[in-house]
Symmetry: C2
Amino acid sequence: MGTKDQTNTGQHDRVLDELGTRITSGEFPPGHTLRIEQLETRFTASRSVIREAIRVLESMGLVTSRRRVGVTVAPRTAWNLFDPRLIRWRLNGTDRPALLLSLGQLRHGVEPAAAALAAHHATPEQCGTLTGAVMQMAVHGRSGDLHAYLDADILFHRTLLAASGNEMLAALADVVAEVLKGRTGHDLMPAHPEPAAIRWHAEVAQAIQARDPHAAERAMRDIVDEATRATQHPPA
Amino acid sequence: MGTKDQTNTGQHDRVLDELGTRITSGEFPPGHTLRIEQLETRFTASRSVIREAIRVLESMGLVTSRRRVGVTVAPRTAWNLFDPRLIRWRLNGTDRPALLLSLGQLRHGVEPAAAALAAHHATPEQCGTLTGAVMQMAVHGRSGDLHAYLDADILFHRTLLAASGNEMLAALADVVAEVLKGRTGHDLMPAHPEPAAIRWHAEVAQAIQARDPHAAERAMRDIVDEATRATQHPPA
DNA sequence: CTCACCCTAAAGGTATGATTAATTGGCCGT
DNA sequence: ACGGCCAATTAATCATACCTTTAGGGTGAG
């Protein structure tokens, strides 16, 4: 004891965030080994707290813990890159551009497939949400309100992934949302969004309502490809 | 040695596996709350062990822990479905068919895209590994050694995903491997694998070596579609 | 009768002592 | 002189005692 905590609840989360950030940023490179006693003093926390954080990092594949050796930072190939916490740490770090490219290519594969499935499984409510989101995008795209545009864009993609009826695809909604947010937040968007993008969104919504999987898939592919292209070649 | 060592020396992993299985199987349904003291006696383990397991489950989104109330099982929408451990638990549970369908649809989107990227980025070593894996599949497919066939199949897909040059796609290798293992381990494979599957694998390897993204993508799509179809209509 | 405040105990969170396993280095046998 | 085996050391792992928070009921004033 002795040290007064400035944060009442969340010793564990504090240490976990700190460690995760240090590791993903490269301050603790793969192969480097840490001793838990050293971490106790570094973060002024007890072994329980450190150990629980280490256990979580281990479950993410970030580190491996071996007796008599210490906690070793694992090679990047062992990392569980789909963990939302890990994605957040990396989006705040230096390899943000590379990560956005990787996520764009992932979307290229996933979202058209989800659109095709949604053409089969979407409920009337979901169709309504999709068309509503497109209208919001059109309105705020013309007025230049990028924040409202972003919200509608996120709603559109989240609804579409949920409408696929596939829980794994639906689970990717948070990842896609992070990508969209990252694009707007780092000035990778023009002052007025590409009119073609809005048109493609409308095409997807229409195709899904018309139960046309092929058209939905193709239009969605156009959306994602344009988005990835725009991310790689910023307008500014 | 087919499956990864699950019997690692450690109380922690045992408790984690037990709890994860119970939760995913529905024995502890969402909304149900557990007390740590109760779990201590149930698993004859100490508080630290239980707590560390709980912390890992919490990081997977399976449970939330609140003071004075206990550990509450989270709704399924909060679960981090891409965690390999969670996938393994669910593949051993009752909703295995539905999960295999979801994963098949995911592969349908992801693996063809990875094949197309691999046609651009694959190194000569990776091309060699791919063709080698195909040869192993042909040999063991004819001899009926399903275990060796499985290893070669996993190696093929893992190498292809790595060759895409995209870390997110490469990270899905464990997921795909779990699907393939699950298929063989639960007698969803015929005694001799589909000859067409082996031919398509060979086509993918050839197309990648020839730097033909479109052909690679199409052949890979054939592979995944056949695999999903086969898992939905078991031969037995 | 209702509401607000406080007070208690129940349960998770934290800190530290005890245990076990694995690496290192020295010693003995060949 | 070289290689394998044993023990001493070290750091993770396990166990337990203590602290902090908060749900939920009880009490008193309005």
